[in-house]
């Protein structure tokens, strides 16, 4: 699945995550993550984002994520929404 245009999903409300995806012509995934639980869950969140992108077949993208304590199911949902909107 190829990201054609910038797209966003999610909110900055607590327990949510705001996601923006953009095309990456250079190839690969670049992830910029901010999180209120970076120390405790930063790696876990990155893994979930990368896994979800892979499941959706996204190979090239610039992903900006601003996390407000979202659980994994929300992170997956917001990534999927942003990707589908960006197709």
């Amino acid at each position: 699945m190829k990201i054609q245009k910038p797209a966003k999903a999610g909110t900055m409300e607590s327990n949510d995550i705001y996601i923006m995806v953009q095309p990456n012509d250079e190839g690969g995934v670049i992830l910029n993550l901010e999180s209120i639980v970076m120390t405790q869950f930063g790696n876990q969140i990155k893994t979930v984002i990368m896994e979800t992108l892979k499941e959706l077949g996204v190979e090239d993208a610039v992903v900006t994520a601003k996390d407000r304590g979202a659980l994994d199911y929300t992170i997956r949902a917001r990534i999927e929404t942003a990707v589908k909107r960006g197709m």
Binding site: N15, D16, L71, Y73, A77, R78, T81
Partner: protein
């Protein structure tokens, strides 16, 4: 599983905080809403979030119902297709007509087959909120055996009828009676329209009591703080429970003594009284009162 449906709590479908806490608020059912609570630009987002929530959030003992968008909109069928595949307990169909219910039911047949779910396991709630719907309540109920209940939506209904919606609710007397009777005839739940004013506690209790007295078996809640109040009105009183227990004891005794008819407190106890006592005790048991 036999369950009470005294309260059905609406939860906005695009709000992670509310979705993950929906199951701990004590509602008998939660309605994860993709329709009115979600703006047109977030329909896709809410659909995916609710799907994921059903897969991974623990809703404890609450029945999980998803209100999809009307089938006449561009979102309705996609909601059904995405949500059906994660097997909620039930789908709520807004502005339901016979044709809508049949169409949803057929679509669910297909999804159940494809996903390997038991046939007919995803249930339906029909939302009655138009003059057409109200006048055809019984035939709508008959259009699918997936239906386990109806919700009366008084705001849209009164708008459709072109009449004023009031705090006292005289204008929905007929609608409540009609829905309650049809539901009773088909042995499904009759859920009353929500009460909007959170500050008017007295009006709220009157509203629940009135609906209950007409045969509505439960009420939709739009705020978790309404749940306890609704359960309070629907709970059998201690006196009612005690009386029901005495009826059953007297019946046991009559059986032991080989008596066909018997009386309690000088009054003849007949079949309707026994049936009512059983219903009271069953409700009390499910509500954890005995």
């Amino acid at each position: 599983m036999e369950r009470l449906r005294r309260t059905m709590l609406f939860m906005p479908g695009n709000n992670p905080s509310m979705l993950q806490n929906a199951g701990i608020l004590g509602a008998d059912s939660v309605i994860l809403d993709l329709e009115d609570a979600v703006s047109l630009t977030e329909k896709d987002s809410a659909r995916i979030l609710v799907r994921n929530a059903i897969k991974s959030v623990n809703f404890y003992n609450s029945e999980v119902v998803v209100r999809i968008n009307p089938l006449g909109t561009e979102f309705g069928y996609e909601d059904l297709d995405v949500i059906g595949r994660v097997k909620p307990d039930a789908i709520m169909v807004p502005k339901a007509t016979e044709a809508d219910i049949k169409s949803v039911s057929e679509k669910l047949d297909k999804i159940e087959e494809e996903e390997g779910f038991e046939k007919g396991s995803i249930k339906l709630f029909a939302l009655i909120e138009s003059a057409y719907g109200l006048e055809n309540v019984y035939s709508i109920l008959q259009s699918s055996d997936r239906i386990i209940g109806m919700l009366l939506g008084a705001e849209d209904l009164t708008a459709d009828l072109g009449i004023k919606r009031t705090r006292e609710g005289e204008e929905i007397f007929y609608a409540r009676s009609r829905v309650a009777t049809a539901c009773k005839a088909c042995k499904v739940a009759a859920i009353d329209t929500p009460f909007a004013d959170m500050e008017d506690m007295e009006g709220f209790i009157k509203d629940i009591t009135r609906a209950k007295s007409l045969g509505m078996t439960g009420k939709a809640a739009i705020n978790p703080r309404q749940i306890d109040t609704i359960h309070g009105v629907y709970a059998p009183t201690e006196a009612e429970i005690r009386y029901a227990q005495r009826v059953m004891e007297a019946q046991e005794e009559a059986k032991r003594e080989g008596k066909g008819v018997f009386s309690l407190d000088g009054k003849m106890v007949d079949a309707p009284i026994i049936a009512r006592a059983q219903t009271t005790l069953n409700t009390a048991r499910l509500a954890g009162l005995i």
